[in-house]
Amino acid sequence: MSSIDNVVERRSPLADGARATLPALVAYVPFGLLVGAHVATSPDPLVAWLGTFTIYGGAAQLALLDVLAAGGSLLAAAVTALLLQARLAVYAAALAPDWRAAPLRGRLLAAVTLTDVPWAMSQGRAGQTGDVASRRRFYLGAALTLWAAWPVFVTAGMLGGTVLARQPVAGLVAPLLFGALVAPSLRERRGAVPALAAAATAVVTAPWSSGSAVLLASAVGAVAAAAVNRSPR
């Protein structure tokens, strides 16, 4: 066996997942700084910061703090954040078949670190390899990398990284990041149809709060995906 073959043999899916996530980490920096800036101005910054680990969803954490800062009720803050987090149930359901036979601690780790980027990356990986164990390790590599880096960005934002986060162009980083992750799905009909249905729903529901709009778009996408899966081609 040549030395190149040896290197290929030794490539770890865990390390591949971690490496694949590095460009996404750059994209998460301004978002993390923005969340950190909101955490710092919260009436209870320590609790808000702890939410970085426990909620582990930047958009939900930001929405929660914004609603409270604007004088909204506790219920409104919780519902808004939970509507945004509801998409995690969809991601978890899509991952479930791959993790059915995994040990409990592996499933717990996969669940606790689940968010948009590792999920989308693991779906991209699913199209490349049929080996379930390899896909699981790839997912964990991606998920653990982001899980370790995200609190660092938020903490840096608390300590004064708001200048970068408040640049208007920083607001485009998240759409570009998510767009890049979704794009490979658009090449196939079963990904393109739900995406188009969701895009139309998002335009129509633009005046709504993010949580309800994303939840409805996700439901419309599910209906479209079911229709595409049922159709003969």
Binding site: A199, A222, A225
Partner: protein
Amino acid sequence: MSTLAVVLAVTAGSLAFRLVPLLGLVAVPERAARVARGAGVAAMTAMVVRGVLEHRDPGVPGAGWIAVAAVAVGLAAAIRGRSLSVVLLWGLASYGVLASAVRLLT
């Protein structure tokens, strides 16, 4: 105290969303998982669209349309199989160039 109550509630809900399907507390057949994949793509697409629609740049007239163009450039690169770094670079650079051009012309 109020922040603590909300953070605890959202933490509990987020954990339930993540844990229930992955721990097998509800059965997820392959067909449902395929539909969930479509719903996941839909959720991320909706966040892309909302991110663009919510874009504001007080110093640039027509910033919303420039954001649409910049994200379209990034998406085109992504669909052609470019890496995540290239997609981000092209999208942000497009916004920078277009926004500067509009500022100069107005």
